[in-house]
């Protein structure tokens, strides 16, 4: 690796870099929710948002020199897993009734 590049970069990464990365990932998750039309992809976008949150937890945990943040992200993973189970089950029923995964076609109730 060329030394110039190494020198351009700081020796240690500031905490805010992690946090900004987290924010970007979170926003990308939101964007996924808004732009994708496949229900499963939309759901995956939510998972992306949760991942971003986890990164924040872990980053702050480092900053605070505590273990608690890790525990929180662990809980978030469990929740995500549970959500995934239920969510996919719901998606299954929707698919069975409508034979589509197009999110905009699940819009019979409105106004």
């Amino acid at each position: 690796m060329p030394a110039e590049i190494t020198q351009l970069l700081p020796a240690a990464v500031p905490l805010s870099w992690y946090l900004v990365l987290s924010a970007i990932l979170f926003t990308l998750g939101v964007a996924g929710f808004l732009f994708r039309r496949n229900i499963i992809t939309v759901f995956m976008s939510i998972e992306l948002m949760l991942n971003a949150v986890n990164l924040t937890f872990v980053a702050f945990s480092y900053h605070l020199k505590q273990v608690d943040g890790h525990i929180f992200s662990f809980f978030v993973m469990v929740v995500a897993a549970a959500e995934a189970t239920v969510g996919l089950a719901i998606i299954l029923t929707v698919f069975k009734n409508r034979a589509t995964l197009e999110i905009d076609e699940v819009s019979s109730m409105k106004l």
Binding site: F33, F43, Q66, D68, E83, I90, N97, R98, S108, M109
Partner: protein
């Protein structure tokens, strides 16, 4: 960090209602497949007994208030009030669901009651948790159970859609909330409400006040979603309309009460130092919520949807009391939720009955001539609707009264006046149901309403009696709420 993970006796007592419910729920899951189809009604009885036991235990637990599980859980008046409230909602929902599933699916289903029981655990945790992550987990327990219940009739398109919308949007909003929690954790070094509060008072504010404020805003997105405050209410009409009527009642009453409990506790304990700056935002949210709920409800023809909008509007009234940011306000929130739970469950119980198999009759016009077809049912519905309007001698009146009293106490004069005018607007759409029910003849072919089972009858009578009781003698509940409103000693 405690050295032993063996909980003390006091810890267990304070958690006992949830323990009982969890254990009972698990047990029900075991015996459910072993029960013959004809005897599934037993599951409802077991669920009811469990909930009743949990109620009793939460009263007992209150005899020894305090925190437990390393400050995770707090048993105080506030949490006890909401525990009993959500258990009550659960109990009434169990009662009114008995006939519903028999009618819709031809047989009872035990899992439904297990879900109610588990979701009550979640709601009770939302009310009694003293730690943001535990609150989050409680919220997820309650919500995930809710998602499943909303889509319980899996062959019904409306149920599917309702569940999907509720699930996707719910998870979406919770992610925001969680992001806020993460920030709060980073900025204050803790997620324990008391510690957070101390940290904020102790200097976190000076260091990163702006971020902290934004973090609360992120959390508020999640809270506002759950209490269906505008503009985060968008899910509510679709979900309530699509969900089975008893479930819609449960969501509108119990889930909303728990969400408010969580909002109030977080706002009044951890972020109390910040709430002063939240006033303008809360003010606007409360007003927007009332307006959106009431005005949109004017144009609804489906009664479940109308009630959903009305539920949004009521959230707005409650937010008025939250905006007041005083103990009087918190007491008003508590009283309001109690009476709102009774009347809204009552209304949904009546709707459940009138709707008939497949929920065919859920248009307002389908209530025509109800007073002749089913006078007692009509009288009960009248009581609930008057309570929703806020006519004296019903719980809804005192609820509004306390809310606006609290608002005026905090000099929110304009919000009060706008809120009162809003409730005049609200009268219009409730009156429409009354008009149809009393003043229009029954439509051709509208036969007698299905005979009501004992469960739903009990639910309706209990809600009506409760609504009237709160309307005539609100002191008992209000006194308790008043005492419990002091969240931070």
């Amino acid at each position: 960090m405690p050295t032993s993970f063996i909980p003390t006796a006091a810890d267990l007592l304070r958690l006992s209602p949830d323990i009982v419910l969890t254990a009972g729920g698990a047990l029900m899951m075991v015996i459910e497949p072993l029960t013959s189809a004809a005897r599934k009604a037993r599951m409802a009885v077991i669920a009811a007994l469990l909930i009743a036991a949990a109620m009793a235990l939460s009263v007992m637990a209150y005899s020894d208030p305090g925190t437990s599980f390393s400050g995770m859980l707090v048993v105080d008046g506030f949490s006890t009030f909401f525990r009993i409230l959500v258990y009550g909602c659960g109990l009434l929902t169990v009662l009114m669901s008995v006939d519903y599933f028999k009618r819709e699916r031809g047989s009872e289903s035990g899992e439904y009651y297990v879900l109610i029981v588990f979701s009550l655990v979640g709601q009770s945790l939302m009310a009694s948790a003293n730690e943001l992550v535990l609150i989050f987990i409680g919220l997820e327990v309650s919500s995930i159970a809710g998602y499943i219940m909303a889509g319980y009739l899996r062959d019904d398109k409306r149920n599917n859609e309702s569940a999907l919308k509720y699930f996707l949007l719910g998870s979406f909003a919770t992610a925001f909330m969680l992001y806020g929690v993460a920030w709060v954790y980073g900025l204050t070094g803790s997620t324990n409400l008391d510690t957070v509060r101390r940290a904020i008072l102790g200097g976190a504010m000076e260091q990163s006040g702006q971020m902290l404020f934004v973090a609360t805003a992120l959390m508020f997105v999640g809270f506002a979603f759950k209490i269906s405050a505008a503009p985060f209410h968008v899910w509510a009409p679709d979900v309530y309309q699509g969900a089975p009527a008893p479930v819609a009642g449960f969501l509108a009453a119990g889930a909303k009460a728990a969400a408010f409990a969580m909002l109030v506790r977080v706002a009044a304990s951890a972020f109390f130092p910040l709430t002063g700056r939240w006033e303008m935002l809360m003010w606007a949210t409360a007003l927007a919520t009332m307006i959106v709920g009431n005005f949109a409800a004017l144009r609804q023809s489906n009664i479940k949807r109308m009630l959903a909008y009305s539920s949004v509007a009521h959230a707005g009234y409650i937010l008025v009391a939250v905006t007041a940011q005083s103990e009087v306000g918190i007491a008003a929130v508590m009283f309001y939720l109690a009476s709102y739970a009774l009347m809204t469950i009552g209304v949904f119980a009546v709707v459940t009955l009138v709707a008939s198999k497949g929920e065919r009759f859920v248009e307002i016009e389908d209530f025509a001539g109800l007073v002749q077809r089913q006078p007692m049912l009509a009288i009960a519905l009248t009581i609930f609707l008057f309570s929703l309007i806020g006519i004296p001698l019903t719980g809804g009146f005192f609820a509004k009264f306390y809310v606006f009293k609290a608002a005026l106490d905090s000099n929110l004069t304009w919000l009060t006046i706008l809120g009162l005018l809003n409730s005049a607007v609200a009268a219009f759409y409730y009156l429409r149901v009354l008009v149809v029910m009393y003043m229009k003849p029954a439509a051709e072919g509208a036969g007698p309403v299905d005979p009501a089972g004992i469960g739903i009858k009990a639910a309706i009578v209990a809600s009506a009696v409760g609504t009237l009781y709160l309307g005539v003698y609100p002191s008992a509940v209000l006194d308790f709420a008043g005492k419990a409103a002091q969240l931070v000693k």
